[in-house]
Symmetry: C2
Subunit: 343 residues, 2 copies
Amino acid sequence: MSVTIKDIAKAVGVSHSTVSRALNKSSLVNERTLARIRQMAGEMGYRPNVIAQGLKRKGTKTIALVVPDIANPYFITVAIGVQEKMRAFGYHMILANTNRNLETESEEIKLLCHRMIDGLVICPLSEASVPCLGYLREHEVPFVIVSRDVKGIATPVVLPDDFYGAYLATAHLADLGHTRIAHIAGPEKASVTVDRIAGYKAALSERGLSTDGQLVTMGPLDMSGGYEGARTFLERDDPPTAIFAANDLIAIGVLGYARERGIRIPEDIALVGFDDIDVARYLEVPLTTVAQPAREIGNRAGELLYEALHSPSETPLHRVIMRPTLVIRESSGAARREVGPRN
Amino acid sequence: MSVTIKDIAKAVGVSHSTVSRALNKSSLVNERTLARIRQMAGEMGYRPNVIAQGLKRKGTKTIALVVPDIANPYFITVAIGVQEKMRAFGYHMILANTNRNLETESEEIKLLCHRMIDGLVICPLSEASVPCLGYLREHEVPFVIVSRDVKGIATPVVLPDDFYGAYLATAHLADLGHTRIAHIAGPEKASVTVDRIAGYKAALSERGLSTDGQLVTMGPLDMSGGYEGARTFLERDDPPTAIFAANDLIAIGVLGYARERGIRIPEDIALVGFDDIDVARYLEVPLTTVAQPAREIGNRAGELLYEALHSPSETPLHRVIMRPTLVIRESSGAARREVGPRN
DNA sequence: AGAAATAATACACACGTGTGAATTTGGGTT
DNA sequence: AACCCAAATTCACACGTGTGTATTATTTCT
């Protein structure tokens, strides 16, 4: 087993409380014994048991990141952002997956609550997650919300401007001359879905284009969602000429469907994604996409959580909105405006 | 705060030890009070504090996964595999990143040791990680090694047959008529590098091809490694006609370099990767690659760790070798032998 | 030098839970 | 009714650490 302060106490010949003090607020302990204790601690390779400390200090230097789908590169990038920040602060990060399932989300949050995590960063599934978040509140676990907007919960939030991003993507397609622009959206009720649909429709109506509900489908934010969405649209008699996918995985699903059916992109169908995941530029057809700074979102979320963990009670309710940018590659059929391997 | 057994004890009017027993081995407590306690616990929404339990029980229902690079989709897939298994067993998973840095790895392991994790799954950097693993041993933290082979450490291991996989890849290229086949390998001294180079050379010499050291470079297992490796080879006067990349990220880096320089794949250079990450089939040039069952590797590692956590002392030293398969797509210039969106 | 002030250390309890041993309660037997 | 045994419950301590308070050792002042 590990050496404890008791072991050190025995070795030096003092009580464990003196050792404890020597290793923390040194003020109350004699210069000489302090030195002896510190040295002995070093020699014996003592490291405090963070968990035991946690019992007293009410904090285990552990936070959790709860996301709907860890297989999604976007969330992985956010995770990297959170992780690198929290690591710098001396925290460890538990990675939890809700699998896009409300029950799993609820259960996971409860489990996490009772393992004395100090706080968490969460991407909630939808408004329906509010009770879970309330549970966190009751148990006084600080949390920061990322990438989703949830009404009625007063807590820091870091998210992209989904409306604006969707507007950019749709406007880009419209400006290329497309008039029948479809949108493969995410799961119903999630803010990411609502806001991106709103941005999409705003761009359309601004240009006098129909915002026909027929041109929007909803489904999971993964490849299967894109594959199914593409089938829905492209099997119709009057298929759209352009698709705005709610994220890059959906766009990849569209690519897969298109390849199967011999549909060319961008010649037959123009395609725009969202997120700009790492591989977007290396795809079969380099993907025009709305880039959101996932890593920075993670960073900021980490910082805000750290603040919340260290402010006694009332911390300003930050609401960080990150502005996305449009990265034009080939899938939209426009002239390439970005080249190079990385950056 | 959360309700504790003391709260329940007060509410029911018994001592906290009775409550504790009622919620665990019910045998010693009266039928009626047991029922009352259980009900009250339910009403009050009691959940045991896993951390406090950990102090006594020596176990926090937490494990860690330590990998060199969380940005690598391969490790993410392994992580998903470990996570889904451990979650089923009621464990949480801390995700730690060593950033391919020996010091970070060492520091991280020490930190983790002292937060009472029950065990860990680790992909060590190289033989140089042995001291760290010894540290785990001393502190009696069970661990399972994945995706790397380390000599002199008696612990369960789950890894792909790197030799065989590399052999498959190289043989495939050779059988397509290539005689100058280069290999962009991983970091020096890692088993993954050594074994794949060995498999590569075995395939070459079996066919009477030169195993000229000039055709092997080593570097990081990421896109930058591929980009640099490609430059090294393709700037030469006598460039190879085929490249076997030690993983898919490297292959993507090669794709990036090739695109920049107008080099066509597979016409000018045939390319084979390793791992078969999710996006490999959707790349600019669908990637011929050696598929390893990353998720299953994670699953098996999780199972072995669970065994190790629950066997008093001597558990058989499993050594699970997963056999990889070659997935032929377009980047190697061979006839396509696999199609479809997923599976 | 003796009392008072101060410095240094030990004691005891706490955090939330688990558990062996002691104690109380209840039921049955004589 | 006295007794015994078993069942049920409480006591007391443990895990590793932190901290208020009591205690002891040392210095300072008169």
